[in-house]
């Protein structure tokens, strides 16, 4: 993979990362926030794969696989927590989850 192509992938990763961050910050709905997180993690994955290809080593891909697997677990836990919140509050609006402050 040459430099130019690598840069395009990296740019894509960066854009995805920013979109993810925007989603995380802007969405009220907890589920949407979880989805935005996935975007960020995928941005990382794109970077890893791209770099892996650039270096011609599999380490990047392996890393990406680990990220995917763990992200799955993470989102699982996340959804469980969101579910708990929904049970107790009948809402998944993150702005409401602000009892503790200061």
């Amino acid at each position: 993979m040459d430099d130019l192509l690598l840069n395009q992938f990296l740019l894509l990763g960066a854009v995805l990362f920013c979109i993810g961050v925007y989603g995380v910050l802007a969405r009220r709905n907890a589920v949407l926030v979880l989805m935005s997180i996935e975007l960020i993690l995928n941005a990382v994955n794109i970077n890893l794969i791209a770099f892996g290809a650039f270096w011609g080593s599999i380490t990047g891909s392996v890393f990406a696989l680990f990220v995917i697997a763990i992200a799955a677990a993470e989102v699982g836990v996340g959804l469980a927590i969101v579910l708990l919140i929904y049970r107790n509050r009948r809402s998944v609006d993150l702005d409401d989850v602000a009892e503790m402050k200061g």
Binding site: V33, N47, F51, T59, F66, E74, M100
Partner: protein
């Protein structure tokens, strides 16, 4: 591409030499957590106390190979250097195990009396502990990432363990979301580091980071990677401005879990920071030093100032923990001129901090059993009906404040020492003064609690003596002995000096 991958894997794969002795702590612990699950499955609902005992024994059992490895003394390196057993990892593994054991002691009554899922609780605790053990040995980005998630994901669940409690939920979700955001930022940084060096091994990264990789000026990219990765762990140690989750989570989480987060999880963060900074980023102290300087100064100042205003003791301890993290970050600011001193100082501080902070949480737990409140005001007049407990809490608090001859002062001392040695630098001296001023501010809120206990009347007039369950008594005793011993002997500093890395 997939075929290419398969092919390359097939061609280069050799079964790595697995040193069973080196991995024995992890194996024992894994075994223990399986046993915990099974025991929970097959014991009747009523018979409590078995699961925590098993967990405790499992933790102590894992201690045995740590000790044998320590006695053996040889450094071991596996998986192409991705996983090592050296003095550093052994000292910290021992600390993690001991701290976790104290957390189990703290949890026993709390979990049993609170009608929580006991088996799962200890299972998750041990999982997180396993992650910490791995963290101490990892010298590779992937290993470190896995270890981090292994300790974090169970921690998210534990934080939200009181599932019918709205604050419990809130604690969980805040910790979870912030944790994931931080992980994401960190991962992004890791991907950049990998991209620059083409390897996930710290030793390789160190070379690339220091010299560049011959692909033109990649300095900004390296800087970005370094900063992002460090920020990911700065979150873990609750450094300002990445500390925001800590007070809310600590307050909402079950108190034993809070203790676990405040001590073990934070220590894990520091372990990672030490390894990254001292091995992987050693060539970029021009970034790391100032970054840590800023983070340390910010963290201790903001943490202390906000702690002044807290009325809830757990929340106060949370902010105090933030401030303490600032003190621990301080030596890393001079990593460029005194890397050994910085490492030794942080490890020493971690050991002492674990002892005194766990002790403080233990007393909080005991007192909360009577007062049913975490408000500092409810501690009024404790001295009148529980003088022993008051003295213990006083010891922990003033140790945290850094008053000699209690452990905390030695912790502060090694920080000062690291900052000022071997030559006086402006940055070091100024930060030392900042540390000094901050420790005075910190005294105020610690002393405030002492004031409540010693000098104020009992708010509700209820002077019935406090009943202390055995496990909590054991935890407190262990903590106080260590807190005092660390202060008057060279135990902690000695271990701190001992915890050296395997030479790369």
């Amino acid at each position: 591409m997939f075929a290419f991958l398969l092919q390359s894997v097939a061609s280069t794969f050799d079964r790595p030499a697995i040193d069973l002795h080196a991995l024995a702590p992890e194996f024992v612990l894994t075994g223990a957590l399986v046993v915990v699950l099974l025991v929970d499955l097959f014991t009747p609902k009523g018979s409590r106390g078995i699961v925590p005992s098993v967990a405790g024994i499992g933790i102590l059992a894992a201690m045995v190979p740590v000790l044998t490895l320590a006695l053996d003394g040889a450094d071991r390196s596996m998986f192409g250097g991705a996983y090592v057993v050296d003095n550093f990892s052994l000292v910290l593994q021992a600390m993690f195990l001991l701290a976790a054991y104290v957390v189990v002691l703290l949890s026993t009554n709390y979990v049993a009396e609170g009608d929580y899922a006991e088996g799962e609780y200890y299972f998750l605790l041990l999982c997180a502990l396993l992650g910490m053990l791995v963290m101490a040995s990892s010298r590779d980005l992937i290993t470190m990432f896995v270890a981090l998630e292994l300790l974090s994901i169970p921690a998210y669940m534990l934080a939200g363990w009181r599932k019918r409690d709205r604050r419990g939920n809130e604690a969980g979700v805040k910790y979870y979301l912030m944790g994931v955001f931080a992980s994401a930022v960190m991962l992004y940084g890791m991907s950049l580091l990998y991209g620059i060096s083409g390897s996930t091994l710290f030793s390789d990264i160190a070379l690339a980071v220091a010299r560049g990789n011959g692909l033109g000026d990649t300095t900004p990219l390296i800087t970005l990677g370094v900063v992002f990765v460090l920020i990911g762990f700065a979150f873990k140690v609750s450094a300002v401005p990445f500390h925001t989750w800590a007070p809310d989570t600590y307050e909402g989480a079950p108190t034993p879990v809070t203790a676990f987060l405040a001590v073990s999880s934070k220590a894990a963060g520091f372990v990672a920071l030490l390894q990254l900074i001292l091995i992987a980023f050693i060539g970029r102290d021009d970034v790391v030093g100032p970054l840590m300087w800023v983070l340390a100064a910010l963290t201790m100042t903001v943490g202390n100032l906000i702690a002044l205003r807290q009325t809830n003791i757990v929340r106060m301890l949370a902010y105090s923990g933030v401030a303490q993290a600032g003190f621990m970050l301080a030596p890393l600011a001079v990593v460029g001129s005194n890397s050994d001193g910085a490492r030794s100082a942080v490890v020493t501080y971690l050991l002492i901090y674990a002892a005194m902070n766990l002790g403080a949480f233990a007393v909080v737990l005991i007192v909360a059993r009577k007062t049913r409140s975490a408000e500092i005001a409810s501690w009024g007049g404790l001295f009148e009906y529980a003088p022993g407990l008051t003295v213990l809490m006083t010891v922990f608090l003033f140790s945290l404040a850094g008053i000699p001859p209690l452990g905390g002062w030695l912790a502060k001392f090694v920080v000062f020492r690291a900052l000022l040695s071997p030559d006086l630098t402006a940055g070091g001296v100024i930060l030392a003064v900042v540390v000094g001023v901050n420790s005075v501010i910190a005294l105020y809120y610690y002393a405030n609690v002492a004031r409540q206990m010693w000098m104020n009347p009992v708010p509700d007039g209820d002077r019935t003596p406090v009943r202390i369950p055995f496990s909590l008594a054991a935890a407190v005793t262990l903590s106080v002995v260590l807190t005092v011993a660390f202060g008057v002997s060279d135990l902690a500093t000695h271990l701190g000096d001992l915890a050296t890395f395997l030479p790369a």
